[in-house]
Symmetry: C2
């Protein structure tokens, strides 16, 4: 009877489909018994040499992983530093060597060793070790690793009311009303997931910041979150509203050079440290899209940032000051505004200030040339800001794997000698601080990210923040092995699907370097016809500049001089439409519809070929996915299969919107073999209008 019960309980358990809540930290039994045996006979014990809370945390993570993966509970034993008999053991211990967060792991067919100078390094090493097993790698190996960038950060755009700006996975994970007394156990899962990929900093609130977060009422709540994240090596940052001295302090000004304002920030900073002694620092969006800032008082971004840095003078924390600023100017070029505003300030920032620059010059478009500020600020450390949440990249309904996009920016050469990644790392200008940030795609959804594949983007961001030299394919392979399957044919197919997903998305949305033509405000679906908005640079026509003759934004002198902000090497690569990378073509050139490209097609034909290929490629993705049926978890499978259908519908929506709109300019027929859609421009305009209905 008892055995029968166990059996049925188990059946019951196994019948639960995988809801995605465990992310890539799935410690399900490795299916191949022979593979399990390889590990089981090598790892019979976990030996902890230094019994500290941090190391115990690592040891328990390792134990849980091995118990799940190998189906055997491996005991943990605590031994003194001197004992060296470690046969059939995994030994975790501190060492004097290496960097603060680095680790070395090594193993042979008799044992393994995880070592680091710090507890957090040991945890990172442990996760690296677990990852090896999740990837069925050899027991014999030697690996020393340490992060290239110091602060590897998620920026949460979470609002005080529980919504998430540009969030597509439910509401905020921070449950403000019930904090700090109630800690959602999901916060621990979130911390584990971040630690497993080396993320060590989190800004908890939207950069369009409520000053509410600086009140004692909320600092108590934030302390609740910080206390959960701390054991996992994660520091908390707060996004601040620059007007807080007025709003909260009752001062008459928030002028950064005013003594009372400076004192207010110093006192507030000290108060924060009473709650969070290892406070990470401030993240600031100032004088940008209506946010308050130092310019409201005739001061510069440097004045504002330096004031906050002064308040942190005696602390470990830093100030991350965003460079995402632009003025509404119909005759200007938003592309160059941040550069022009910040360039004169290079060299005038406090040493605790990092200026955070988006990967591209506009706003997280699916494909942007790297931001010209990278490489042009020898006296200021620049942080990289990526967007993991897919505001312009299909939100929750398109499968778009972002590692290739992150890599494209990081690998871009700023000149003959350096890449963007090296600028961010600080190698080029020898800065002591380095920051890489990603706007988080996490929310309260059971599976954290909405689209199941968006989990891979969180994973990939973390992995690249740690080591930008990893390849997109390598990361996709790791993630797939950890999340979905160990079957090589399945893994290869999924990695292939992921790797091809971004180029496909770009084909039906923004081919040849078109940009910023999404639906107004909601940013969902296409609206290339958008002519009027709150500001000229929030329209579509500002960017694509389509007219009877041609299309594209000439930044080579005719519409703006933005290309001149780059090094000569880069200018030479992009200044000639005949040789410019087709991916960036419309970023720098306004070309006649009939201009003949290197592909042999005219601009019009090439655009249309790509627009029409896009949805067909989505259909191919569907077929490829269908073949995985029964080979991966059914809930994950169904979820993605459904979204691929939505993606197809929306790919046609983009294609038709762009074709029907641009053809009225070009007056040209579709290239041979392409069939015009039966719906009208008015039909597709009507779809977009729905998203403005109250």
């Amino acid at each position: 009877m008892k055995r029968l019960f166990v059996f049925f309980m188990l059946c019951n358990f196994l019948s639960f489909a995988d809801d995605g809540s465990r992310l890539w930290l799935k410690y399900d039994l490795i299916k191949s018994e022979s593979q399990r045996k390889v590990y089981s006979k090598t790892y019979k014990k976990i030996v902890v040499l230094n019994q500290t809370p941090g190391i115990e945390l690592a040891a328990k993570e390792l134990q849980e992983a091995l118990t799940g993966l190998l189906g055997t509970k491996i005991p943990i034993s605590y031994e003194s530093n001197n004992v060296t008999s470690s046969k059939k053991s995994i030994v975790l211990g501190l060492t004097d060597l290496g960097s603060e967060e680095g680790f070395s792991i090594a193993g042979d067919n008799k044992s393994a060793r995880i070592e680091s100078k710090s507890e957090i390094g040991l945890l990172y090493g442990t996760f690296a070790f677990i990852r090896r097993i999740q990837n069925l790698e050899s027991t014999t190996f030697q690996l020393t690793d340490s992060p290239k960038v110091k602060v590897r950060m998620l920026n949460h755009w979470d609002n005080a009311d529980g919504t998430v700006e540009r969030g597509y996975a439910g509401s905020s994970m921070w449950k403000w009303p019930e904090l700090p007394e109630t800690i959602d156990p999901r916060l621990i899962q979130y911390a584990r997931a971040n630690a497993s990929i080396g993320i060590n900093a989190v800004s908890i609130n939207n950069v369009n910041a409520s000053s509410r977060f600086l009140t004692p009422e909320y600092l108590r709540k934030i302390k609740g979150v910080a206390d959960v994240l701390r054991p996992y090596g994660i520091k908390v940052f707060i996004s601040v509203n620059f007007k807080s001295p007025k709003t909260l302090g009752g001062l008459e000004t928030s002028d950064p050079l005013d003594e009372s304002v400076r004192n207010w920030w110093l006192k507030k900073t000290n108060e924060i440290h009473d709650y969070i002694p290892d406070f990470g620092g401030y993240l600031v969006k100032a004088n940008s899209e209506g946010e308050p800032g130092p310019q409201d008082y005739g001061r510069t971004h440097a004045d504002g940032a330096n004031m906050l840095a002064a308040a942190l003078e005696k602390r470990d924390g830093i100030v991350i000051w965003r460079a995402f600023v632009y003025n509404a100017d119909i005759n200007g070029d938003r592309f160059q505004e941040a550069f022009n505003q910040f360039k004169p300030l290079d060299g005038s920032f406090h040493e605790k200030v990092v200026v955070q620059v988006k990967n591209g010059p506009i706003d997280f478009m699916p494909r942007e040339p790297f931001h010209p500020m990278f490489g042009a600020f020898p006296k200021t450390p620049l942080a990289m800001e990526f967007q993991i949440t897919q505001e312009y990249l299909g939100q929750s309904t398109h499968l778009t794997y972002l590692a290739p996009m992150f890599k494209e920016t990081l690998d871009s050469k700023i000149d003959a000698n350096y890449t963007v990644a090296e600028v961010v790392e600080g190698t080029k200008d020898k800065f002591p601080i380095s920051v890489i940030a990603g706007v988080a795609n996490t929310g309260s959804d059971v599976n954290w990210t909405g689209h199941p594949f968006n989990q891979a983007n969180w994973y990939a961001f973390g992995r690249l923040a740690w080591d930008y030299s990893l390849s997109s394919e390598q990361i996709a392979k790791e993630w797939t092995n950890m999340t979905l399957s160990h079957e090589p044919s399945v893994v290869n197919s999924i990695v292939d699907l992921m790797t091809e997903s971004l180029p496909t998305y770009i084909k039906y949305t923004y081919p040849l370097g078109l940009h910023h033509m999404m639906g107004e405000g909601h940013h969902y679906g296409p609206q290339p016809w958008l002519e009027k908005s709150g500001r000229p640079d929030w329209t579509s026509v500002y960017y694509h500049r389509a007219d009877a003759k041609g299309i594209g934004f000439d930044r080579n002198g005719k519409m703006s001089n933005a290309l001149s902000l780059y090094s000569k090497e880069v200018q030479n690569k992009w200044n000639n439409p005949a040789t410019c990378d087709l991916n960036y073509l419309m970023w720098f050139h306004h070309l006649d519809w009939t201009y003949k490209l290197s592909t042999g097609n005219t601009v019009w034909d090439e655009l249309m070929i790509r627009y029409f290929q896009g949805p067909e490629e989505v259909k191919a993705m569907q077929s490829q996915w269908e073949k995985l049926k029964g080979k991966i978890d059914s809930e994950f499978f169904d979820n993605v299969a459904g979204r691929l259908k939505t993606q197809e519908r929306e790919a046609y929506w983009w294609r038709d919107a762009c074709y029907l709109y641009f053809k009225d300019f070009s007056k040209l027929p579709l290239p041979n073999g392409l069939k015009a859609p039966s719906r009208t421009l008015e039909d597709v305009k009507n779809i977009e209008r729905i998203y403005h209905l109250r």
Copy 2:
């Protein structure tokens, strides 16, 4: 090896804490082996007599339940109607007897039988049968049951953008962007939970309605939801924006007497039925709090409702028209406005129209006298609208079990002969339609409702909608047995905690019938000092009328005549402050601070005694809860323990706010033994201000 693996898998499984996602449909093994045996030896087989999809659904639910609860997989066999050998079986079959949704279940120590006229009745009977086992009830019994009210409905105030108005459990469960192609498996869980308590209708969007939901784009999505809910007997309603003919149809008016408008709604109604053939109907908030409505065109609520009813003329659906209307009039009394606006219309509504009235005359206050419309509309069926989500009842941080509140209204006598429940049921005036609705408290949170105990409010609403004669204690006991424990001492303690929770909440918020003094807009925490708002009837002072002499709203002639809207019997009960139920005192009387109450205390002393008792009772709840540690699931325990701490903090906040504010009117000292708080009125005002900070 294999056995070892099974063992550890199981350990792993059992170590997962209960995250609340399964609600009360937990089919965990009954701990007592002897108790299991009683069932196991009686139920060895499920026999299905009529193999239809609906009955199979019931049989599989039963199988899943028994497998979990008894630890033995019980086979299902399909047998012809003629076979009567049913020993050791549970037989499910259709019968000609009974009502459409009713069922009879019976059993002895040899077998059991579940019978109904309909598939859905069989499903209800099955859940009733499962509930008996979850409550460890006898195998020998006989029960015939059918719902008292025909439409038992959840009103979701879910917005198109994924937020939920007055939602405290994450974002909307309807994932609009990915619907209909992707169906969240949680929707099936939601449908099961509703069916298990007899809920058979759902309005899917906020009554502050976006016309977006009537576009083909969204009707496809709603169809996706309706298809999931249909097998569980749940019909879908849509909340409509009255202006839709203009907004969507491009008409020049939305006048309900205009022929083109009437045609537009008829065509739209037909279109909806193409997607959802069993469409439930429309829910409408019109000319209320800024929403459009027939009065915009000089027409009446009846004109508006009847137009929609005409569009549904040939369909099964109905129109639910809300009576929640009131005008901003500083000299008026919101209490009586709905009554006065609707009373002249009694008898002029189409037979497909139900007028939906909130339980009380203001707005879901923790304690309201029943709405005077109930009993005063002999020619109009009135639906009852409760609010399950706790907008004014502690939101996600206070443990408040609402069944006693629902019961208080339902059991209220409208006159010598009838109760409110009988009016809603239609018994009094013999209406064919009857509706009871609850504003849903569900969201995307893993545990569905935020505060774990809020699950009990969803459960209680459904049970009472089915049978209002059930007692609060009975429902609490069922829910606790199904959700938390079978241990009688544990169950009793939890039932006791639940039963006492509402009186405690009322003590520190709205004692003696005070009402509407919450924080402006967000409705979180106290703000009795609110004097100015968008409208006079959105302030606090409009309601409590505190002055140097006394406190309370005299509705007995001096400030308004609202009490006269009730029957003579009710008036006689409430018109004398010396005999009026203390719970409703301030609803009908403005009394001197020194007026001596039946308790022997003055108004001031009695108010303060209650305000000061409240937080102490919360501390007692904490102690009571602490004793359950280790006796119920640890995750549930910790979650509630944390929230009880927040509740304590907020109870003191309410107490101090109300004491510090009202004492400046009464100028009286605290009664003996009560100690004034050390904080100031300004201190508590500052807490509320935080929630208005951008």
